[in-house]
Amino acid sequence: MSLALWQSIPLACVLLPLGSAALTAFLPGRWARRWCLLALALITGLSAVFVLRIWSFGRSYTYPMGHYPAPWGNELRAGPLEAAAGLVFALVMLLSMLGGLGWLDRHIAEEKHALYCALMLLLCASLQAQVYTNDLFTAYVFIEIMTLAAAVLIAVRSSGPALLAATRYMIMNLIASALFLLGVILLYDLTGHLLMEPIHIKVQELAASGAYHLPLTVVVAVMASGLAIKSALFPFHTWVPGAYGTSTPASAAVLSGLVSKGYIFLLLKVFHRVIGLETIAQTGIGDVLLFFGLAGMICGSVAALSQCDLRRMLAWSSVAQIGYIFAGLGLGTEAGLSAAVVHMLAHAACKSLLFISAGGLYTGESGDTDFSRLSGAALSAPLAGAGFTIGALSIIGLPFLGGFTSKLALAQAAAAIGGPGGWAVLICLILSTLLNVLYFFRALLILWKRGETAPGHPPLTHRTASGLAVTALSLLNFAIGVLAVPLLQLVRSGLGLLD
């Protein structure tokens, strides 16, 4: 079978940022920034072309990495779902970087910009690799890159709290990496393969014969818990507030919007393509994820209520949103999975918008984010304020915005299941949405409060770029909300082709 030229786009999406990262690291700061943005824009453009092409192609395909066929060499695999995720990840990363440039200048010394851009490109490459890889060990290697790069994106501000947050992030994530690696090793020992399809066939044989039941269950458990720690599912969320709350806005947007989503996408692939949904259902891991997802939905929102810092509130809100995604995964039905995927994409768009536009709302010379100093901040920075408002409304789930699409899909999936699980999801969804309304409206009320004197904002550079990024991210939120039907269709067909 010969491949068309457009089918090499996944290869380009992984290798372009990976290959140019080393080059970027040693360019002068200004050129590094330009190249980083250009590369991200290129990948976004290529991904957009790819989505259109694969939409009309209507199938998924594998792409051998080298001259050796499937069980011997590495492989990439692409379908509509992967294409959509790749596009959203690349676009959100580009806009986060663009929107965070102003604060980057203030938080990071100029000579370190090149290294920051290189790490961003490495992160982009590893996200694309998570999305497209068809090989568990490749996934692990890129998890390592992602962990290291993300920890540095937090620590790069080199303030005390940021270093502390990065250390904790590192510890939690290394434990999680070890768990995932353990899962890969056990799976290799049981099946003798590292590529997803051969493992899947072998695992189905094992599940049918009932052999190695305990190790298989442990594999599912360690992989799921490893990736759950990395994506901050509720009981493992303790690194989140520090990590998102202390890092520079571009880092926070990328970490909360994309890095955790990359891990969830990998978990989805592990469930769907490696272990198989029937075997997953037998292990009962879905119920565990559902339970913790629901707990996260409530506890994250409650904790967000009590925050007195804008960024920490957003961080806790992320914990709640990750809970939504895991609840969708835990439902285990096709509708639940597609709701989870749509929520993943919608949350990537709106949380990055929130962090980037919050960056425009900081007041004072050093950028205060305490609510007591933010009163009326949106009035003196209307564009950022509008972006923040749109993001907040999207998370709450107003119609025509991204959050509405995914929450509606989740509610429909839960209602279709019925039973105690479905009802629990519905109740938690309503409760968590009400809590969302409460804490976001309080933030909005403070931000738009008419005071005697409008607070001053720090003089930032790259104002046009950040304005552009906020506008584009707002439009992306509207797009996900308005184009809900085709998006759901794309995701459903993609999930169907994932097997």
Partner: protein, 324 residues
């Protein structure tokens, strides 16, 4: 939880107002956030609420609040410790049981002895041209993984550079100059220098030999690069930064790792692209056993070796604080 709680108003509405305006933290107790609170930076105590009537604020005696919080913190710390120990023992038990249930070690019927490893062992030399089958596996069959691995090293090097390299234009952190380890170098040591004069060339040569023969004998880029890096570190210790910087400095590090990684990515892009599209490629396995054989493998080994050597040296110099 370092923040002093100042608003324990009696009436709910006032509490709500205070929360709405100021971000009261008294809802914190709803969620056990002990781990988070203990290490987060102390938040500044909020200024007194302007809107709330100061007379309505009914402060509890501070000592009682503090005592209650100390008790809660002690309890949660104890809880976390107990749970951590219990979870560890549970995990140990589960993993031991799993290990016992795995296929027995060394059994020829194990699932890992399948067509994959058979082809690697039996046809590896013919297909990749590498006498060292392991080199054939990691640099040809599964070269994408190794590309990722060398980028893991590069990511780590970037991390160390961004965190520990002392800034040149960083005016705010000028005091850090005093931390520069290069100011406190040991004096000339005759024994160390004599030994290093003898050992450094040997180590570098041996490392280079391991790298070059990676496809012929055990070794390769990772191990050879580590030996070369160790040689450089030895020289650095014996002769100091100034002399080492004549041939190994930030510019050399830049050029070497940049060239190596870019070459690796470019070469493998070509090979991946031609492989996937079944295009003819000019890479051929050659005659196994020759120095210039095995297609791209020796060149990739050199690239990996350079990256490993540079990364090791960078780690060493930067963990002593200073520049390269």
């Amino acid at each position: 939880m370092a923040r002093v709680r100042n608003d324990f108003e009696g009436r709910r509405w006032q509490r709500f107002r205070a929360w709405l305006n100021e971000g009261d933290t008294s809802l914190d107790s709803l969620l056990m956030d002990a781990v988070d609170g203990r290490s987060s930076a102390p938040q500044p105590a909020p200024s007194a609420p302007e809107s709330a009537d100061p007379g309505a604020v009914n402060h509890l005696p501070l000592s009682a609040v503090q005592a209650r919080r100390a008790r809660a913190e002690k309890f949660s710390r104890g809880l976390y410790r107990t749970l951590a120990v219990l979870i560890c023992f549970g995990l140990i038990g589960v993993l031991l049981a799993t290990a016992a249930a795995l296929p027995p070690f060394g059994n020829p019927d194990n699932p890992v002895h399948n067509e994959v490893s058979r082809r690697y062992i039996e046809q590896g030399m013919a297909e990749t041209g590498a006498v060292n089958v392991v080199a054939g596996m990691i640099l040809d069959y599964r070269a994408f993984d190794t590309l990722g691995e060398s980028n893991v090293l590069f990511t780590a090097a970037c991390a160390v550079l961004i965190l520990l390299r002392l800034g040149v234009s960083d005016r705010v952190r000028r005091w850090e100059r005093d931390l520069d380890a290069r100011l406190y170098e040991p004096q000339n040591d005759a024994i160390l220098q004599t030994l290093a004069r003898f050992l450094t060339p040997m180590a570098l040569l041996f490392g280079f030999y391991i790298v070059l023969n990676g496809h012929l004998s055990p070794g390769g880029g990772f191990s050879g690069g580590a030996v070369m890096g160790a040689g450089l570190i030895l020289y650095l210790n014996a002769f100091g930064y100034e002399k080492t910087a004549r041939f190994m400095n930030y510019r050399v590090f830049q050029t070497a790792s940049c060239a190596a990684l870019t070459f690796y990515a470019a070469a493998k892009s070509y090979s991946f692209f031609t492989g996937a599209n079944h295009l003819p490629s000019f890479i051929n396995a050659g005659i196994p056993g020759m120095l210039f054989s095995a297609g791209l493998i020796p060149y990739l080994n050199i690239a990996v070796g350079l990256v490993v050597c540079c990364t090791m040296y960078a780690f060493y110099t930067l963990f002593r604080k200073g520049d390269m």
